[in-house]
């Protein structure tokens, strides 16, 4: 992470990075002699690296939990419709600008509301006679996603080219321009929900045994699904609200961890959070160095870099046959 902070349009020596961060965090040592470097490290780079880490962790953990909740290896915040809900919220605010109805609602707040609304819809449509069946949940998620997507496309048609570029950039995700004041909420939500979800690890494991067997193991399957669905919608909503709709992390990172260290959620979720964080920090680093000083949106690189590695791992693994 230090390296990620040090490298960019202007390279800062690693030692200076530590000096500056330490000075700001603990007040120890003197302020850096070059105020511009101090500004770059503390006000620009550190918050964006921190957000990249939080976003990576949050999306990856959501994906891991959703894959178990709907017993489907393809599940992630996108398949369950959460991301499209967030996108519609964000796009509405970007194109309508200070539209009367949405006055006072920022892009982030609208994206968060969109994701949570999608979560609530999937929850409502996925149940029948009080039971949340996995297949019905996935299908409800996909349908809700498509509905939000077509609404988003319609709104985009009304947009100006400049607005479209903003929309495009947002949809592919970015942590550029992160401010310190954006971080407290995300950090609290990511840390608290990840901890909670890890505490549910034993019950998530039981869910792997099938609904009937999990019931016989003393798990209230329905209530567990509902709680997990709400927690993941909250988690992804919060992350997407500030970092945009970054794909592939939620799908790939959990499988990567499963394929290498197994599926026990008590181990899987913390490791997934860690790897998700590291991965997105690396991707963000590449996104601003590959084509300096232009930035490539994160969503393009997550899949471009991740897919080949993931496919290699899939081919190597015998357990899936």
């Amino acid at each position: 992470m230090t390296a990620a902070v040090s490298i960019g349009a202007v390279n800062v020596p690693l030692g200076d990075v530590w000096g500056i961060v330490l000075h700001h965090v603990t007040g120890a040592g003197a302020a850096h002699s070059d105020p511009a470097l101090d500004q770059i490290v503390w006000n620009f780079r550190t918050p964006r690296v921190a957000l990249a880490a939080l976003a990576g962790a949050g999306l990856a953990v959501s994906g891991a939990v959703l894959q178990t909740v709907v017993s489907n290896p393809l599940a992630d915040p996108i398949v369950l419709g959460f991301s499209y809900g967030a996108t519609l919220g964000a796009v509405l605010v970007i194109t309508l600008g200070g539209g009367a109805a949405l006055a006072g609602l920022g892009v982030s707040a609208a994206a968060f509301l969109g994701a949570v609304a999608a979560g609530a819809l999937v929850f409502a449509l996925g149940q029948r006679r009080g039971r949340l069946a996995p297949t019905r949940l996935v299908l409800a998620g996909v349908a809700v996603g498509y509905a939000f997507l077509s609404a988003t496309s319609y709104v985009q048609l009304q947009a100006t080219p400049a607005e479209l570029r903003t929309v495009m950039f947002w949809m592919l995700g970015s942590v550029a321009g992160t401010q310190w004041d954006q971080l407290p909420t995300v950090s609290v939500v990511v840390l608290v929900t990840t901890t909670l979800l890890t505490l549910f690890g034993r019950r998530l494991n039981a869910l792997l045994a099938g609904d009937e067997s999990a019931t016989a193991l003393g798990v209230n399957v329905n209530r567990l699904r509902a709680v997990l669905l709400m927690l993941t919608a909250l988690l992804t909503g919060t992350v997407i609200a500030v970092a945009g709709s970054i794909g592939f992390v939620g799908l790939m990172i959990p499988h990567l961890v499963r394929l290498t260290t197994g599926a026990d959620h008590r181990r899987l979720l913390p490791l997934t959070a860690l790897l998700g964080a590291v991965y997105l920090v690396l991707v963000d680093l590449l996104s601003r160095t590959l084509n300096r000083p232009e930035e490539i949106p994160l969503g393009i690189l997550t899949a471009l870099l991740g897919a080949p590695f993931f496919l290699w791992l899939l081919r190597r693994n015998k357990g899936l046959d």
Partner: protein
Amino acid sequence: MKLTIDRLHVTLDRTPILRDVSLRARTGDIVGLVGPNGSGKSTLLRTVYRSLRPADGVVRVGEDDVWALAPRTAARRTAAVLQDGGGNTTGLTVTEIVALGRAPHHGLLGRDGAEDHRAVADAIDRCGVRPFADRDYASLSGGERQRVLLARALAQAPRLLVLDELTNHLDIRARFELLDLIRATGITTLAVLHDLDLAARLCDHLVVLHEGTVMAAGPVLEVLTPRILGDAFGIRARTERHADGVIRITYAAHALVGGETTADRPNTP
């Protein structure tokens, strides 16, 4: 622990599935549940492991109505091996699957302790799954898988075992090994069995379900009479205890239609 099912009625989608079903198992009894497909055997089991709430009647494990107990409390008494088998457990090792049996013994903040490790190790040894304890469940044979699931149930430290077609798709030796294992546990057991010979070999008592009601119940030889076998399964068969103490069923070659075997009817090919 004893199991008492009293005047149970179950309805699914407004269709009555079980009507006025009563059943008793004393502590240590092995009770077999037999009957043709669709007679309500698995449904009855679901009311016992708290998956399907009966419309009327009561299921008691020990002295308590299971539907008045908290899910985890009930699961500490009753363990089940069901037909959903391993579920979607790719990526879990055999030991991790057996350890799922400890789930009802912990709340959200519970961590594995010495007692958990002992229960898991003990179940692994009793079911003979030690040689493949570190392997992926998906790589096991059918017989090995069922032994793993039985080990998971034993790790639950239950007082009642509920088994749904535990021996399906297994070769004859694997079947006998599993039956011996269950007998050796001494735990009260309610087992759905398709194979009547196995049911006769394993169980102290049999209950015959037919169209959602109990058609017969009692000791094996009193239940598997030609008349009941004919009425419940539509077959002609006789049951006898051989000199070696084993109960054997001899089946006629053809199914019964309207009280006669199909071979007796002139137009049946």
